[in-house]
């Protein structure tokens, strides 16, 4: 079930909402949200509800165990074992076949025959997200940043909440703990306007911008070798905006839905294409992931507080490599992560020089580097990426792809919104009549587009 689907908008959401606000106690609301979220998740594949439930139960008891364990070694055990279980599950479902293919490929290169089984593994939707939810919970509990909850339904509601379950933002327990604790006192009307405002804006970003761009460039990406230079740049620029509006649109919808149920979710995007440098970009892009990587990987490795500069670069590279791998079981994602890792290292080394450049140049330069990185993120393999880069940087003419007029219009709108306009968290959601009329028109168009029957899933559902 997608957010941009009629069944979600006209069946699931109204039922979930009205029943939720009829409930009076906290526990009733936790149970209802958990049930609704499992129904939501089950529409993807009901078998994987058991997997999520297992991960939830393991993490819940890990928290209780840490709560009751005075012995530090025992506390550590309650962290290490469940986290290992979570990572094993994630590793198996997401990376087993990738590992097998890699070993087989290495064997071929070394002329060694390796016969490893490739299993028909279906990747559970959202496993990368809810696994990070549970791991962050256990690590924060171990660090005594949070007090583990004794209320199983509160915890399961946190893990499985449908608004952020399948594509983020990655929410830490401490970020929603207060709202969950006060769920029985939540006022239905308090965040009603802002919730719907976020939801509508996110829907329009996804359906009207991201999907329109995708409709034009996806066929072109299948025939990269025949693109002209201009066509190649339009394809890559198109994807740059597509992934931003797709993902930030989804995050906005998730935040909006959270508001409707009395839960404030964290900001995930802060106008990343306005970034002045690559470090700034990672403070603005997929904030929930980058802060997780920082807090649970980079800092434990030592971060920048290490004895030697090369250790800082090592920590950055490891963090970004794993960050790339998190996005998908493909070496292009790993390379994309490494690419950003190298850029971060270079900024560490030469950042003072970069910061002296004019602001406009910093923005343009940063945006250019990000665009190049997206080539590897989007391409199916290195060959396709290489061909695309070659088309971009060697002069070639040829017919442009169909739908160019529509693409240029949408790209112009997208560019203004991404580089100039305030983002959803910066605008005042108290709309004036004429602006709300515009919002209503845009939302209506999005509803009509959804009604036509062709919906593209969210890009980040592949992870």
């Amino acid at each position: 079930m997608l957010f941009n689907s009629l069944i979600f908008l006209f069946l699931f959401l109204p039922v979930a909402y009205f029943v939720f606000w009829r409930m009076r106690t906290k526990n009733q609301r936790f149970i209802w949200l958990t049930f609704a979220s499992y129904v939501f998740y089950g529409t993807w594949n009901y078998r994987f509800c058991a997997l999520m439930a297992f991960s939830t139960v393991v993490s819940y008891f890990a928290g209780l165990g840490m709560l009751g364990a005075a012995n530090p070694r025992r506390r550590k055990l309650f962290l290490v074992v469940p986290v290992a279980i979570d990572l094993l599950l994630l590793g198996f479902f997401k990376y087993f076949n990738f590992a097998v293919a890699t070993f087989t490929g290495v064997g071929t290169l070394l002329h060694v025959s390796i016969h490893a089984p490739a299993l028909n593994i279906i990747l559970p939707v959202g496993i990368s997200f809810y696994t990070f939810h549970t791991i962050s919970y256990m690590v924060d509990a171990y660090r005594r940043v949070i007090t583990p909850t004794r209320n199983f339904w509160e915890f399961s509601c946190y893990v499985s909440l449908f608004s952020q379950l399948v594509a983020g933002p990655i929410v830490r327990f401490r970020q929603v703990e207060t709202d969950l604790e006060n769920l029985d006192h939540a006022d239905r009307t308090r965040w009603l306007n802002i919730g719907w405002s976020f939801f509508a804006i996110g829907m329009m970003k996804k359906v009207l911008l991201a999907d329109t761009i995708a409709a034009v460039i996806n066929p072109a990406w299948k025939d990269v070798a025949h693109l002209s230079t201009l066509g190649a740049w339009l394809c890559v620029l198109g994807y740059t905006y597509q992934i931003y509006f797709d993902f930030s649109g989804y995050s906005d919808m998730a935040v909006g839905l959270g508001y409707l149920f009395g839960i404030r979710l964290p900001q995930n995007f802060n106008s990343p294409y306005k970034a002045l440098n690559i470090a700034d970009f990672w403070r603005r892009w997929h904030i929930s992931l980058s802060t997780c990587l920082r807090d649970y990987l980079y800092i434990p490795l030592g971060g920048s507080r290490v004895s030697a500069p090369w250790l800082v670069y090592r920590n950055l590279l490891i963090t970004m490599l794993l960050g790339g791998l998190w996005h998908g079981a493909n070496w292009t994602f790993v390379f994309w992560g490494a690419y950003h890792g190298v850029l971060l290292c270079l900024y560490k080394m030469f950042g003072r020089l970069w910061d002296r450049l004019p602001t406009a140049l910093q923005r343009v330069g940063t945006f250019f580097l990000i665009v190049i990185g997206w080539v590897f993120f989007r391409a199916d393999n290195f060959s396709a990426a290489a061909v695309m880069l070659a088309r971009m940087f060697t002069l070639s003419v040829g017919p442009l792809f169909p739908g160019l007029v529509g693409l240029l219009i949408v790209l112009a709108i997208a560019a203004v919104l991404a580089h100039v306009a305030p983002n959803t968290f910066e605008i005042n959601h108290e709309w004036k009549p004429w602006t709300i009329a515009g919002l209503a028109v845009g939302y209506s168009l999005a509803l009509l587009a959804i009604a036509s029957g062709q919906q593209l899933p969210f890009l980040y559902f592949q992870f």
Partner: protein, 387 residues
């Protein structure tokens, strides 16, 4: 953490306006379902078909549909306005929901035509359907009992009884593509579920019709149809690329005319002999059952459009697999004692002979046969009536 709380009770608040907008959309969608779908359709099929037919006919009974600018389904699937071949279409149904004139049921019926959409003939002028062509050839009335799927035995018997046909001929139109589906079970209802049979028998035809009529009415969403149409208008390869074009295969005939195919038209059974044997057994059973009711069965094997016209393309496609499958069908029917007439050879000959005159046997923007095709089919049936 964001906490821009607001509590505006104004009607202009998004918290009130947007849910009301969605409610309006929902009400509009439901309300429009009570409006006839006809203006949104480009052909008769969608306007007339009942998605949940009662125990009788598959189409809305006692209705007339007319369209001056109808065109083929394949051109619509591919969103290719330039490839449309416009034509006038009329589609009339009788009191039972079959494609027959509204005049009182002919009591001098000499036969029934059963089969799929080819037998229905919704793409054709009403005087060019197979049943109309047969009626003229034989000088007696052939009732059109075509439906999305060929009628099961019990439905056919009921149709025969309604038109007072006690002795006569049943023409079973069998499209080549049907061979790669499994035949129905050899039961009178064709293995409809026990639950459905129970409901039909318990409630009776009248109540089934009362339930199925509003369900049919509410099933199609005109709002969705409008949205889809708008989307297709925008995807004109200038504003947006035509994402539908990949669903069809665009080819050129040797005479320069364009012809559109669906990929499924080129499909052949994995095991043609087994498929043919299964159908032979089914139709043999069907024929024996009909004989007990005084009816004779004649199977009309209609080749796929792709089988006939692929060799005549500017870049011909191989049809040996299709020809082999058709050969297997003919052999299987012969072995099972089923009387059959195959149009393969006659169609291939006619298509090649008249290609330069641009006289076709099928529509170019649709999978179905045209008036020339049905005329030849009727002629072949007439010529083989005594075999």
């Amino acid at each position: 953490m964001n906490d821009k709380s607001n509590n505006s009770a104004s009607i202009w608040g998004t918290g009130r306006l947007l849910p009301r907008l969605m409610l309006l959309y929902f009400i509009l969608d439901i309300a429009l379902r009570f409006v006839p779908l006809d203006p949104l359709t480009f052909r008769a099929w969608e306007a007339m078909l009942r998605r949940y037919p009662n125990a009788v006919g598959p189409f809305t009974p006692s209705k007339h549909y007319h369209r001056d600018n109808s065109y083929g389904g394949v051109a619509n699937i591919g969103n290719l306005p330039a490839e449309r071949r416009y034509r006038t279409v009329d589609f009339t149904t009788d009191a039972f929901g079959f494609h027959n004139p509204p005049s009182p049921i002919q009591t001098d019926s000499i036969g029934i035509v059963v089969g799929d959409s080819f037998a229905v003939g919704s793409e054709l002028p009403e005087h060019e359907t197979l049943s109309a062509q047969l009626s003229r050839r034989f000088g007696g009335y052939f009732y059109n009992a075509g439906a999305p799927q060929p009628l099961h035995l019990s439905s056919l018997r009921a149709a025969a009884q309604r038109i007072g046909l006690h002795r006569g001929l049943v023409i079973y139109e069998f499209l080549e593509a049907r061979a790669w589906q499994d035949p129905p079970a050899t039961t009178p209802e064709g293995a409809q579920g026990a639950g459905q049979r129970f409901i039909f028998r318990t409630l009776g035809q009248e109540w089934i019709d009362r339930f199925s009529t509003p369900i049919n009415q509410l099933h199609s969403s005109p709002l969705q149809a409008i949205s889809a149409k708008l989307e297709k208008k925008l995807q004109d390869n200038t504003l947006l690329p035509n994402s539908f074009a990949g669903f069809v295969i665009q080819e050129k005939l040797r005479n320069g005319d364009s012809i559109l195919f669906l990929p499924a038209e080129f499909k052949t059974p994995d095991d043609p002999r087994s498929a043919a044997a299964r159908w032979g057994a089914y139709l043999a059973w069907y024929s024996n059952e009909l004989r007990e009711s005084g009816l004779g069965l004649l199977v009309l094997v209609v080749p796929n459009r792709s089988t006939i016209y692929s060799p005549l393309l500017a870049q011909p496609r191989d049809v040996s697999a299709s020809l082999s499958a058709l050969g297997s069908l003919a052999q299987a029917f012969q072995n099972a004692g089923v009387r059959a007439v195959s149009l393969q050879n006659r169609y291939a000959q006619e298509a090649a002979t008249h290609l330069n005159e641009k006289k076709y046997l099928y529509l170019l923007d649709d999978t179905h046969w045209n008036g020339n095709g049905t005329a030849i089919a009727a002629e072949e049936i007439f010529n083989h009536r005594n075999e």
